[in-house]
C-alpha cells in the first residue's frame, strides 16, 4: 500500500476573536484577547467571572429552524467553520462527497442540550438526541452528506489534535480522498462549574507560563480540509501546510494532572517525529498546550526539555495561544493549529499575550510574549494534553517555504496484524471461563455478571468510586494482556490503547449533574467532574495497567469496538509500536436509559446490557500460535445498504480477497427494524455463496459500543481453534466451523457509520 502525502487546503474558524479567519488573524496581530466578562450564564458564585465566548452569535444567521432544533451548539459551531474551510479549498469541485470523511474532536459533545433541561430524569427526547458525543460528528457528516470515514474523537483537551491525526491517516492510507478534520466545543455552565470546583480558573485573562496561575475557558470550532498533495497540485489548490505525522500517548498517571515530568507529551512528540521522519533539530516552532495552570505549564516544559535538551529548547520559539482564545478544550488543538498556519502565511508566529514575568519552572523556555514574532518557519509542532492523560502532537511543514528536494515517504514493508489476546468481562465470572462464542450462543442467563466487582477480581486494580464501566474495562483489558503474556513477554509501558465508548460512564456523569442540580453550580463535585470526559475510562485503564503507548478514545454511536480495532490495525501496520489493545465498554444507568429512549434504542428486539471486551493486536506473532489475522478494513458513512456494501468492498479490495473466498459474515445489528432492513439489502447486494454462514450474536445481549467488537472476538476464537465444545457449536450453526478460513465482520450504526474487517486464519 502506497502512502500519500497529505496537505491542508482549507481552513475555517469560529472563536471568541472572530467568526472567520480574517477576523481572527487581525485580532491576533493587534494582540487582543477574546477573554472577557462571561454573558452566557451567571458566574457570581464562581472564583472567576470571565471566559472566551463567541461574540454576537446568532444561530438564525446560519441555520433554518429545523437545523437549530436538531443540532447542538457544538455541531452548529462545527458546521459554520467547515463551510468556510470547504469554500476556501473548493475541494467539492473535484472530489465527490462519497469520498470525503470527517474526523471530529470534542471534549463535551452536546452537553448544552442536556444541562439546559435542568434535570436528569424525564428528559425531553428531542433535546436529549442532541447530547451524545457521536451525534456531533454524525449530525455534521449528515448535514454535508459525507460518505467517507466518520469518527468522533473524545480525548478531551487533546481531541482535535487526535482528530487531525486520524484524518491525516485516512487520507495518507487512501481510505478517503479528502477529510474534514478539527474540533468544536461550546461554553457550558456545568463544565465551567467543574473547572471552578477544581480551582483551575484564573480570575484575570489567562497568560500561560506567566506569574499568575489559572486558565480561562473558551468556546469555538476550527476545521481543516485535508487531501493528498497530488490532488491539491492537480487542481491548483492553495496549500497551507503538509502534515508529516502525528503522535499520541497516555500519561497513565492521573485523571486531571499531567505527568509531572511531562513523560506523556514527550512520548507523543517522539512518536510524531518518528512517523513523520523529521529530525528534532528541524523543528523551529512549537505551539504548546500551555493552559496556564500550575500543574500543566512546568510539566509540559519539562517534557519538551526531555525531547529537545535544555539548550536546544531554549533556542526554539514556543508559545501558547490560549491567552488569545482561552482554553477551547476539544477545539483547542484545531484552533491553535489553524491560527498558527494563518500566522505563518505572513511569516509570523502566535504570541502568549498578557505576559508579565515567567513563572518558576519555565525560566529557560523561549516564549514568544505579547507580540507576534517575525520568523519564516518550516517544520513545527502543535501539542495538546488532556484530562485522562491523553496527549497529541502534530508535525507539520509550512508550505510557504520553497522546497528543495521532496522527501519521499518510505513505502511501508508488508506488515501482518494478528489478534494475539482477548478478554471480556462477560465470561469472566463463569466457572469454566469458556469462550465468548460459546456463551453468546448458550442458553445461560446474563444476570450473574451484573454483580461483577473489580475488587474481587484484583483489588490492586480497583480505586474508590470507580464506576462500573471502568471496572469492566480494566478487567477485560487485563485479561487480554494476560493471555498475550502467556506466550510473549510484554512491557506494559509500550502497549497502545484505543478505546471506544459511546457514552462514557453516565453513572459518574449523573452524580456530577446531581451535585449541581441539588446544591448549585458553586458546589459542583470536583471528584466526579473528571469522569465527565469520555476518555476518563481509557485514562483509568491506562493508569491501572501502566499503558503509556499511543492512546485514543472514540465514539461512533454503535460500532465503537470494531472501529477501534480498525484504528489499532492501522497503528500496527505503521510498525512504530508492536502491541495495541483495542476495546470497548458499555454501562447501564438511569441516565443511559433516558438516552436509549431518546435515541429509540429501547425499541431494540435485543436486551440492552453492559460489559467490556478487549482484543490485543500485534504485528508480531509466535510461529507456533494459532490465531486470527486482520487482512483488510473498510470505513464509510451512510445509513443505507449501498454505503455498507461499499465498506465491505473496500475491505475486500484492501485484503486482496474475493467474496467467493468468504466462509462467514458476522454482522452486528442493534435490533431495530431499520437496521435489520439495511443488513438484508446488503446481503442481497453482496450475493455471497449459498453455504455462507451469516450470523448476528446479539440475541442474548446488545451492548452499543462493545457488541461490534464481540463479533470480531468470536471470529478470532473460531479461526484460532479455541472452541472447546466443537460439537455443540457445529450443531448450532449446522456447519463444520473448523473449516473456516476467512470471514467478514461488519457493523453499521444507527446513523450509518459503517465499518468492515476481513479476518482470516493466520498463516
Amino acid at each position: 500500500m502506497i502512502k500519500n502525502r497529505v496537505v491542508v487546503t482549507g481552513i475555517g474558524i469560529l472563536s471568541s476573536l472572530g467568526h472567520n479567519k480574517k477576523e481572527n488573524i487581525l485580532q491576533m496581530k493587534k494582540g487582543n484577547t477574546g477573554v472577557n466578562k462571561l454573558k452566557k450564564f451567571n458566574t457570581d458564585k464562581f472564583i472567576s467571572q470571565i471566559g472566551a465566548e463567541i461574540k454576537e452569535y446568532n444561530a438564525q444567521a446560519y441555520f433554518n429552524e429545523r437545523e437549530i432544533t436538531e443540532y447542538d451548539r457544538c455541531a452548529q459551531y462545527a458546521i459554520i467553520s467547515i463551510k468556510e474551510a470547504l469554500a476556501e479549498s473548493k475541494v467539492l469541485d473535484n472530489i465527490s462527497l462519497e469520498n470525503i470523511g470527517l474526523s471530529f474532536g470534542t471534549c463535551n459533545g452536546g452537553v448544552n442540550s442536556l444541562e439546559e433541561q435542568n434535570a436528569i430524569k424525564g428528559l425531553d427526547k428531542k433535546k436529549t438526541q442532541k447530547y451524545p458525543f457521536f451525534n456531533q460528528g454524525d449530525h455534521v457528516a449528515k448535514h454535508f452528506k459525507l460518505g467517507g470515514p466518520v469518527n468522533t474523537i473524545n480525548t478531551a483537551c487533546a481531541a482535535s489534535g487526535n482528530a487531525i491525526g486520524f484524518g491525516f491517516e485516512m487520507v495518507q492510507k487512501g481510505y478517503a480522498n479528502a477529510m474534514i478534520v478539527g474540533g468544536s466545543d461550546s461554553m457550558s455552565s456545568s463544565v465551567y462549574a467543574g473547572f471552578n470546583a477544581l480551582r483551575a480558573l484564573n480570575s484575570v485573562p489567562c497568560s500561560p507560563y506567566n506569574k499568575s496561575f489559572g486558565l480561562s475557558l473558551g468556546e469555538g470550532a476550527a476545521f481543516l480540509v485535508l487531501e493528498t498533495l497530488e490532488s491539491a497540485l492537480s487542481r491548483n489548490a492553495n496549500i497551507y501546510a503538509e502534515i508529516c505525522g502525528y503522535g499520541l500517548s497516555s500519561d497513565a498517571y492521573h485523571e486531571t494532572a499531567p505527568h509531572p515530568e511531562g513523560l506523556g507529551i514527550k512520548k507523543a512528540i517522539e512518536y510524531a517525529l518518528k512517523q513523520a521522519n523529521v529530525e528534532k533539530k528541524e523543528i523551529s516552532y512549537i505551539n504548546t498546550h500551555g493552559t496556564g495552570t500550575k500543574a500543566n505549564d512546568s510539566a509540559e516544559i519539562k517534557g519538551l526539555e526531555q525531547v529537545f535538551g535544555t539548550e536546544r529548547l531554549s533556542q526554539i520559539p514556543i508559545s501558547s495561544s490560549k491567552a488569545y482564545f482561552g482554553h477551547n478544550l476539544g477545539a483547542a488543538a484545531a484552533i491553535e493549529y489553524v491560527t498558527s498556519l494563518l500566522a505563518m502565511q505572513e511569516d509570523l508566529l502566535p504570541a502568549t499575550i498578557n505576559f508579565q514575568e515567567k513563572r518558576e519552572g519555565c525560566e529557560n523556555a523561549n516564549i514568544i510574549t505579547n507580540e507576534m514574532k517575525h520568523q519564516r518557519t518550516t517544520y513545527f509542532l502543535c501539542n495538546n494534553s488532556a484530562f485522562g492523560g491523553h496527549n497529541a502532537s502534530i508535525v507539520s511543514k509550512n508550505w510557504e517555504i520553497p522546497e528543495g528536494e521532496i522527501k519521499e515517504l518510505k513505502s511501508p514493508s508488508k506488515t501482518n496484524v494478528y489478534i494475539v489476546g482477548k478478554g471480556n468481562s462477560t465470561t469472566l465470572l463463569k466457572e469454566n471461563q469458556g469462550s465468548l462464542l460459546e456463551y453468546l450462543v448458550s442458553e445461560e442467563s446474563t444476570s450473574e455478571f451484573e454483580d461483577f466487582k473489580l475488587k474481587e477480581y484484583d483489588s490492586t486494580l480497583y480505586e474508590r468510586r470507580m464506576n462500573s464501566l471502568a471496572q469492566y474495562s480494566i478487567a477485560a483489558a487485563d485479561l487480554a494482556i494476560k493471555e498475550t503474556n502467556s506466550y510473549s513477554s510484554l512491557e506494559n509501558e509500550d502497549i497502545a490503547l484505543i478505546y471506544g465508548t459511546s457514552r462514557g460512564s453516565l453513572q459518574s456523569s449523573e452524580k456530577y449533574f446531581k451535585s449541581i442540580l441539588q446544591k448549585g453550580p458553586e458546589f459542583a463535585s470536583s471528584i466526579y467532574f473528571p469522569d465527565m470526559v469520555l476518555n476518563s475510562v481509557a485514562g483509568k485503564v491506562s493508569k491501572k495497567l501502566r499503558l503509556q503507548g499511543f492512546g485514543s478514545s472514540i465514539s461512533t454511536g454503535g460500532n465503537e469496538g470494531l472501529f477501534s480495532a480498525i484504528y489499532g490495525y492501522e497503528l500496527m501496520k505503521d510498525n512504530i509500536q508492536s502491541y495495541c489493545l483495542v476495546g470497548a465498554g458499555d454501562e447501564l444507568s438511569d441516565l443511559s436509559s433516558e438516552i436509549d429512549q431518546a435515541l429509540g434504542l429501547d425499541k431494540s428486539i435485543y436486551p440492552i446490557s453492559q460489559g467490556s471486551s478487549f482484543l490485543m493486536l500485534s504485528n508480531k506473532k509466535d510461529k507456533y500460535i494459532n490465531c486470527a489475522e486482520i487482512t483488510g478494513i473498510g470505513l464509510t458513512f451512510g445509513s443505507n445498504a449501498s454505503s455498507l456494501n461499499r465498506a465491505i468492498e473496500m475491505a475486500l479490495n484492501n485484503s486482496n480477497s474475493n467474496i467467493k473466498d468468504i466462509d462467514f459474515i458476522f454482522y452486528n445489528s442493534n435490533g431495530l427494524p431499520s437496521d435489520m432492513a439495511i443488513y438484508e439489502e446488503m446481503f442481497e447486494n453482496l450475493n455471497p455463496q449459498k453455504s455462507i454462514l451469516k450470523h448476528c450474536f446479539n440475541s442474548k445481549e446488545y451492548l452499543e459500543s462493545t457488541s461490534s467488537l464481540n463479533h470480531l472476538y468470536v471470529a478470532a476464537e473460531l479461526l484460532g481453534n479455541e472452541i472447546k465444545d466443537l460439537e455443540s457449536i457445529n450443531n448450532y450453526f449446522n456447519q463444520d466451523v473448523t473449516k473456516y478460513k476467512k470471514g467478514i465482520v461488519v457493523s453499521t450504526s444507527m446513523n450509518g457509520n459503517n465499518a468492515a474487517i476481513i479476518v482470516s486464519k493466520a498463516k
Binding site: 472564583i47 470546583a197 477544581l198 480551582r199 492521573h254 485523571e255 486531571t256 494532572a257 474508590r464 468510586r465 446544591k519 458546589f523 463535585s525 470536583s526 471528584i527 473528571p530
Partner: protein
C-alpha cells in the same frame, strides 16, 4: 456545633466517608492524627478540593484565598482541620 468532637465526627462521617465514598474504611477507624494525604488515607489533590467544598458546605464557612502551604497544614489530619474549623466558627459567633 462548635464542640471540637462534633466537628471531628462531621469531618469523618459526612465529608470523608460519605462524600468521598471511602468504601474501605469506617468513620470510627479514622484516627484523628492520621495523615489525610500520602501514606494515611491516601487522598489526592482532586479529593482535597472536594474536602474543601465539603467543609464549606457543612460548616458554611469560606476557605477561598488560602495559600497552598496553609491549606497543606490545615488539611494534614482530622485533628488540624477540626482545630481550624473550630477557630473559624468562633470568629463568626
Amino acid at each position: 456545633m462548635n464542640k471540637i468532637e462534633e466537628i471531628k465526627n462531621i469531618i469523618k462521617e459526612k465529608i470523608l466517608v460519605e462524600r468521598l465514598e471511602l468504601d474501605d474504611i469506617t468513620a470510627e477507624e479514622i484516627n484523628d492524627n492520621e495523615a489525610l494525604f500520602g501514606d494515611g488515607l491516601g487522598l489526592d489533590s482532586v479529593e482535597a478540593l472536594d474536602v474543601i467544598s465539603g467543609v464549606e458546605e457543612e460548616f458554611d464557612i469560606k476557605m477561598q484565598g488560602m495559600e497552598e502551604e496553609e491549606i497543606r497544614q490545615t488539611f494534614s489530619s482530622v485533628e488540624t482541620l477540626s482545630a481550624y474549623i473550630h477557630e473559624k466558627l468562633a470568629q463568626i459567633v
